[in-house]
């Protein structure tokens, strides 16, 4: 009996509810959330790095020495340091002697930098000191000229060495008509990057240019005076010399100056790695035919950005777009910034380094 009374009561309550809910429609505009999506994953990766405030890192950059090329690199490195808010310690060694570079590195270690990027004068000599720095928790990368792989995380290369080496011989061959004697002016016989290029220059000659003959490879120690002397010496020593190719930035201007002084324009061609500013005059006057290089500013910029990224735990990957640099290539532990640029009398004025 009581159960039935309850049932009745439920029935009335139900009826009342139905009536109430039927009347409940209408009223102010409001929203009822049905589903809330967790943070959309698109573009989250980039967002994380940008969102978390990066610590103010101190990055040490060590060039081979001070010259026009490395000064331009410093400009790029400084620009990057401003852009990404890190402290740049640009430590120039006293000379190309590896011992001086070791000094410079020790100096940076004392200043407790977070990362060191070095352009090595000698691939072996720097390994112990870089090992020490690594022990201190300093991240090591190399740029421009590499060390032994165990000493650093990765190597920021400007161009693919094979491409560059073969291209340099191509520009020379085009200038001298694919035959005749030529000499190579290199920075130091121990610098790893230059030796690598020379290897590919020889290979290219072997492959395509049987009528060209390499007569000598002379070091310049990246010093303009020494390079100038060496160029004059070459002209004197090899009367049949048709071309000089320089694979370090002081080489081609020195050779062009020697050619100018010997009044050998047209007889002897000068090509090689150098900056537009150093070569502009010689190119316009016809003492040099082609200068080849990359943007040293871009190299400095990229080096600092990649060092900072490494400190944030981001290792570079192939085809990675780097802001204000472009897409980079990664080949093992070597990063390649891009393709080489050729400067001739037609376009050298477009460049300001």
């Amino acid at each position: 009996m009581i159960a039935r009374i309850r049932a009745w009561r439920f029935f009335w309550i139900f009826l009342a509810l139905a009536v109430v809910s039927a009347c409940g429609r209408g009223g102010a505009d409001s929203y009822k959330v049905i589903y809330e999506m967790e943070n959309p994953s698109a573009s989250a990766e980039d967002g994380v790095a940008a969102d978390s405030p990066a610590p103010h890192y101190r990055i040490g950059v060590v060039p081979k020495l001070s010259n026009t090329y490395f000064d331009v690199v410093k400009q790029g490195a400084q620009e990057a340091a401003w852009d990404i808010d890190v402290e740049l310690l640009y430590k120039v060694p006293a000379s190309t002697d590896p011992q001086d570079q070791i000094e410079a590195i020790r100096d940076l270690m004392e200043q407790k930098v977070d990362a060191i990027a070095v352009s090595a004068n000698d691939p072996q000599a720097l390994v112990p000191v870089l090992g020490e720095a690594k022990q201190m928790g300093i991240k090591i990368i190399t740029w421009d000229a590499d060390t032994e792989p165990e000493a650093r995380e990765f190597y920021v290369n400007m161009v693919d060495p094979e491409t560059l080496g073969r291209h340099l011989i191509d520009t020379l061959a085009w200038s001298i008509g694919e035959k005749g004697e030529f000499a190579i002016m290199t920075a130091s016989l121990s610098a790893a990057n230059q030796n690598e290029w020379i290897k590919w220059m020889k290979a290219q000659r072997q492959e395509y240019y049987p009528n060209m003959k390499l007569v000598e490879i002379v070091p310049t120690d990246d010093a303009p005076d020494k390079a100038y002397d060496a160029a004059k010496e070459l002209l004197k020593k090899h009367p049949n010399l048709r071309g000089i190719v320089g694979n370090a930035s002081v080489g081609p201007p020195a050779a062009a100056q020697a050619v100018k002084e010997a009044d050998a324009a047209g007889r002897i061609s000068v090509v090689g790695l150098s900056t537009p500013n150093l070569m502009r005059g010689y190119l316009h006057e016809g003492y040099a035919q082609t200068a080849t290089l990359w943007s040293p500013k871009k190299l400095g910029y990229l080096t600092v950005v990649l060092a900072r990224n490494l400190l944030l735990g981001q290792t570079p990957y192939d085809d990675q777009p780097v802001e204000k640099v472009g897409n980079i290539r990664v080949n093992g532990d070597m990063i390649i910034m891009g393709a080489p640029l050729d400067f001739t009398k037609d376009n050298v004025d477009q460049y300001d380094f």
Partner: protein, 620 residues
């Protein structure tokens, strides 16, 4: 408490059929409607949730497709680097001759026209390039309101710094208008000379919104749905309805979430709104569809269900009503019958012939009524018969003829001075009168009954003298026992014998024998009266009539048979059918009447007759 009690009483007093119908409603209609309601709401909710979960994902997908497409468009400026000549033009300083400058303008404009407005980018409407105070442009459609000074002015300050990321400019932020008001967005991207670490210029790419259309159209083909893209301020830069492009969504700040789905629950049709916000662009993608289109099919199912439900409810309700009436109608009829019986109308109703419990109840009741009625009728008959018998006996006792004849005989005896005879007759008459008047009991001692008939016959003997002879033989065993007999059972028989006998015979002889005999009907020793006369006898057909009259209880016959059948009926009523009167007669020779009664001694007989008296008194 009181109200609950009242409710309870009310419920108890509700009619059974109402209770049955209510119970049916409780057990079927309410659970069914509840079930239907819950199922429907759950189903629509799950549809809502499914769409609500799926739409933001799809929007997110569309969003990333659009972002990707925008990034592709934003990378178009890099194509300039494919041409050294074009880069050379851009790198060139301002100080040139007018002709050189116009030559550069021409080559770069035509290069952009070839590169950007060609086949692979059908969405690009126009490309503008601002570089070192030079304004390059290339357009598919005629436009107004965009040149070096007026259009770019608001962004000039941004041009000094190298900004890698593209910026989207909406039509509301610039004066640029294309012919026919083609909807567009402007992608602003700086061109960086990474080698020289300089900004070469800024490119503006006007893109038709058809690419958004294409991407979104792949996702949503339902034209009932609205899809739009707006910026963080609510400006709709794209809408499936082209009229709406450029308008503002005032509600944007009231949206409860920017990534997910919600339902509008205001006036007007409810809508399911899904939104996602693009992290990259800051755009909000909105998909809005009226709920009723989502639940269209469900609503159809619901309507069908509701109709089917109502139909079923109606049918079952009718069944329930019929069924409960089927149960209660016989009960009602039965109760009416009972009420009638209470009022004294013992009718039998055979319309309740169902074989269920109510039917068997009705049958039992009917048989009870029948039995009751029979009992009543039996009692009634007995009563009437008894009364009639008594009346008759009374009438016989004070038969005026008898008294008149007797008094006449006495008178003659007085004239003849036969004093003794007179005294005898008056004494006899007086005793007879006392016997008939004095004792009201139905049963009297057997000896009194015999004495009474002897008195009667003696008086008749005085009257008819030699014409009548009689003899009464009383068994000695009967005299000893104190036996009882119904009153006035012999006189009607003897009167009958005298009446018929004296009509035809000169001398009538009546023999009366009283004795005990073993009866095979009752299986006991019964008292038997034998009244034998030598009267005319009874003809065979008359005999049959009489026997018929004795057997059938009718007492309508008031003539000669009346006395006999009355006596017989009284005995049968009092003692059962195994007792009563038997007739034997030979026509012309005489008749013998045998009266058989049970042998009851004094107390038994009294008790029996009194008990019957008593019970009869109560009934009356």
């Amino acid at each position: 408490m009181i109200s609950r009690l009242r409710e309870r009483l009310k419920l108890r007093n509700t009619r059974l059929s109402s209770k049955l119908i209510m119970t049916y409603l409780l057990l079927t209609v309410i659970p069914m409607s509840l079930l239907g309601y819950v199922t429907y709401t759950q189903f629509t909710r799950s549809i809502e949730e499914q769409i609500g979960e799926y739409m933001p994902r799809f929007l997110n997908q569309a969003n990333s497709n659009i972002e990707q497409r925008l990034m592709e468009l934003a990378s178009l400026p890099d194509l300039l680097f494919n041409s050294d000549d074009m880069i050379a033009i851009l790198r060139r300083d301002e100080e040139q001759s007018v002709s050189d400058r116009n030559k550069d303008l021409f080559s770069l404009n035509s290069y952009m026209s070839r590169t950007y407005l060609g086949g692979s980018n059908p969405d690009v409407l126009a490309v503008f390039l601002l570089s070192k105070n030079r304004f390059f442009q290339s357009s598919k459609v005629a436009y107004t309101g965009f040149d070096r000074d007026q259009a770019i002015a608001p962004y000039r300050y941004e041009l000094s710094n190298l900004v890698e990321k593209p910026k989207i400019i909406l039509p509301s932020e610039t004066g640029l208008r294309f012919q026919n008001d083609v909807p567009y967005i402007l992608i602003m991207k700086q061109i960086a000379d990474t080698d020289n670490r300089r900004i070469l210029g800024t490119m503006f790419i006007a893109v038709q919104l058809t690419f958004i259309d294409r991407i979104l159209h792949d996702f949503e083909k339902n034209d009932k749905a609205d899809l739009w893209v707006m910026n963080g301020k609510g400006e709709r830069l794209y809408h499936t309805d082209p009229e709406m492009i450029g308008t503002f969504d005032a509600e944007i700040d009231r949206y409860p979430i920017r990534n997910g789905s919600f339902r509008t629950t205001g006036a007007g049709p409810q809508r399911l709104v899904s939104v996602t916000e693009s992290a990259e662009l800051g755009w909000v993608f909105v998909h809005s569809i009226p709920l009723k289109y989502l639940t269209e099919k469900t609503d159809l199912v619901r309507n069908v269900t509701v109709f089917a439900f109502i139909g079923v409810v109606l049918v079952t309700a009718i069944l329930a009503v019929v069924l409960s009436l089927n149960i209660t109608r016989p009960l009602k009829k039965l109760s009416r019958l009972m009420k009638n019986a209470e009022m004294g109308h013992f009718q039998v109703d055979h319309s309740l012939q169902s074989r269920d419990e109510v039917g068997s109840l009705a049958r039992s009741f009917n048989s009870m009524i029948t039995t009751t009625r029979e009992l009543i009728q039996t009692n009634y008959r007995i009563e009437i018969r008894q009364k009639e018998a008594e009346l008759y006996a009374l009438q016989s006792q004070i038969n005026p003829h008898f008294i008149y004849n007797t008094l006449e005989t006495i008178g003659m005896a007085v004239e003849e001075r036969e004093t003794e005879t007179v005294v005898d007759m008056v004494t006899l008459l007086g005793r007879m009168l006392r016997f008939s008047v004095g004792n009201k009991a139905k049963s009297v001692p057997l000896t009194d009954e015999v004495q009474h008939i002897r008195d009667y016959l003696t008086i008749q003997k005085y009257r008819f003298e030699d014409r009548l002879t009689f003899d009464i033989q009383l068994g000695t065993d009967i005299e000893r026992e104190n036996l009882y007999s119904p009153k006035f059972i012999l006189q009607p028989i003897v009167e009958n014998a005298i009446k018929h006998g004296l009509e035809t015979r000169k001398v009538l002889d009546i023999q009366i024998g009283i004795g005990k005999e073993m009866s095979f009907r009752s299986g006991k020793q019964d008292v038997v009266y034998r009244i034998r006369d030598n009267g005319p006898g009874i003809p065979a057909e008359r005999m049959a009539e009489l026997e018929e009259a004795l057997r059938s209880d009718t007492h309508i016959d008031k003539d000669s048979g009346f006395g006999l059948s009355n006596v017989n009926a009284r005995i049968v009523l009092m003692h059962g059918p195994e007792y009563g009167i038997q007739l034997h007669s030979i026509y012309g020779k005489g008749t013998e009447v045998i009266v058989r009664i049970p042998a009851l001694n004094g107390m038994e007989g009294l008790a029996e007759s009194e008990g019957m008296d008593k019970s009869r008194g109560e009934e009356e």
